[in-house]
């Protein structure tokens, strides 16, 4: 049962992150996920200091707010100062993360939020973080419920906004010409990334969130030329990674999050290598087709 809960948690995070990551990659904004997952730290600490508890809702709000603040600052530095996006990201998230660390060490040193928890999380504790109702019924691990809701919200968001997300990613100028607000969809996507990140990382840690955001979509991108297939392959990969990552950690008696991240990287390298091996034939076929 422990294995089931951990694998399920990992899969829920991986699928949610992967779905959003597909659009981040296609918008050439992969590192924004990295930035958001770090920049949420001060928001979490401030929410904790204000509410005095580790309840999920204030944490989500605090993290969502600083996550959006980070994306706003990145856009602002990029547009107003003419700074390259990656430089804007580098400046913004290290600054916000450092602010978070100072807040923790200065004001919240005695509680169980610390840098390690934020960065690495501990998915192995998921099965003991139980949701117990008022009359004492044990409903199963709390994170599983939270992450299921997040996955549902993200899936609905992508389902309803698929057309707009696709168009604003592919051709923002044309989208604006149609009257579709590129800024609105940009910030909706960023908000989704912020909330996903913060609700995921208390169980799996920021590093694994980043790995899940980019790893499976990047692998899927190598495998297909169709956005819907890319999303589908990402989901399958995400579940596969969670499953194999857990059993690898079980065998090696190693960090579960670490093993899942390694499998994520392994999948990418594997697909990339296979593609390189069969590429000569493939590219030849394409060239011939274009010539004809």
């Amino acid at each position: 049962m422990i294995a089931f809960w951990i694998i399920l948690t990992g899969a829920l995070v991986a699928v949610t992150c992967g779905l959003l990551g597909c659009f981040l990659i296609l918008r050439k904004m992969s590192m924004v996920g990295d930035a958001i997952s770090h920049a949420v730290l001060p928001g979490i600490v401030i929410a904790f200091l204000l509410s005095g508890s580790r309840e999920t809702l204030p944490m989500l709000l605090g993290a969502g707010a600083t996550g959006l603040l980070a994306t706003f600052l990145i856009e602002y530095f990029h547009r107003r100062a003419g700074l390259q996006t990656d430089a804007a990201i580098g400046v913004t998230f290290t600054f916000l993360f450092a602010v978070g660390i100072i807040l923790i060490s200065a004001f919240a040193g005695k509680v169980d939020i610390d840098q390690d928890c934020v960065l690495y999380g501990e998915i192995a504790y998921v099965p003991i973080d139980l949701w117990v109702t008022a009359n004492g019924t044990i409903m199963g691990p709390r994170p599983v419920y939270i992450l299921s809701v997040v996955l549902l919200v993200v899936s609905v968001f992508i389902k309803l906004g698929y057309k707009e997300l696709k168009l604003t990613s592919f051709d923002p100028a044309f989208a604006s010409a149609l009257g579709i607000s590129t800024a609105l969809w940009h910030y909706l996507l960023m908000a989704a990334v912020s909330f996903t990140t913060v609700s995921s990382f208390e169980s799996v840690g920021a590093i694994l969130v980043i790995a899940f955001l980019i790893g499976p979509p990047a692998t899927a991108y190598l495998l297909t030329h169709d956005l819907k297939h890319m999303l589908a392959i990402t989901v399958v990969l995400a579940i596969f990674i969670s499953f194999t990552g857990y059993w690898m950690a079980y065998w090696l008696n190693a960090s579960i999050a670490g093993c899942m991240a390694v499998i994520t990287g392994g999948c990418f390298v594997g697909v990339f290598s296979i593609r390189q091996l069969i590429k000569p034939k493939g590219s030849q076929a394409i060239t011939n087709e274009v010539m004809a």
Partner: protein, 262 residues
């Protein structure tokens, strides 16, 4: 030399646009009649693309206003189509040719709804018009430059608009595609559509367009091609730009010796 249209469908009034406080367009003021093919012509950096983007509302003007069908652009977006520069998008994006053309239907479909069978039929019909019907299922990274431009054109056609703004549709396309596109534009114009094209080739401009907007940060000339596109106005627009003088010379030479013209 600015000639205004009688019943303008496009009205640009005293438009000034600046990037980072540096003006790139100064007091541009012209009108266009309906059913014409108009060319926006001028040297590099003249602000041709900026003018188009400002008309589409993608760049806010510093002063002045734009009216299409005598109304602000935001009220008539469903009747206006925009073809961005081909290089402005990532052609490795995982979508098919048909997907891209269907994007032209998104404005009509509306928020949170999906394109239907009718949109599919229109998209395929538009692909057929640009001679790309056989490529519908092809992934866009496998297209040549000319094919990419045809796909963009098909997407604009799928919008079923009345005004079409096109940014450099002839840039980097083969001669066959260029002829196919201009043929299609003429067909559209005779069906009452108004087409505004950013163009940089002076020679073909004279034959392609029946209305010319000659631009070099300021408006140099605007009007029917035979009146607005003269040696004098071309020199005004391109004067002082040595690298382009030869091109201007070429045009004048061809006018002096018409027998050599193609």
């Amino acid at each position: 030399m600015i000639i205004h249209a009688q019943q303008p469908i496009v009205e640009v009034h005293d438009l000034t646009v600046s990037y980072a406080r540096k003006p790139v367009l100064w007091g541009v003021d012209f009108t266009l009649p309906s059913g014409c093919i108009a060319g926006i012509v001028g040297p590099n950096g003249a602000g041709k693309s900026t003018l188009l983007k400002t008309i589409m509302g993608l760049i806010p003007p510093s002063s002045g206003y734009i009216k299409l069908f005598d109304r602000p652009v935001d009220e008539v977006r469903s009747r206006v189509s925009y073809v961005p520069q081909r290089e402005s998008v990532d052609w490795d994006f995982p979508v098919s040719v048909l997907d891209v053309v269907l994007m032209g239907r998104y404005g009509k479909v509306g928020l949170l709804r999906n394109t239907g069978a009718r949109d599919q039929a229109i998209a395929r019909d538009c692909l057929d018009k640009v001679g790309m019907a056989a490529f519908a299922k092809r992934q866009i990274s496998q297209l040549s430059g000319g094919q990419q431009q045809r796909v963009f054109l098909a997407r604009a056609l799928a919008q079923e608009s009345d005004i079409y703004f096109m940014d450099e549709p002839f840039a980097g396309v083969d001669a066959a595609t260029e002829q196919a596109i201009i043929g299609l534009l003429r067909e559209m114009a005779s069906a009452g559509k108004t087409i505004i094209v950013v163009h940089h080739d002076l020679q073909s401009a004279r034959t392609y367009f029946d209305w010319i907007i000659l631009l070099n940060m300021r408006l140099v000339a605007a009007g029917p091609t035979d009146q607005a596109f003269t040696d004098e106005t071309i020199q005004q627009a391109y004067g002082g730009r040595l690298n382009l003088l030869s091109q201007v010379g070429d045009v004048m030479e061809k006018r002096a010796f018409p027998s050599r013209e193609n």
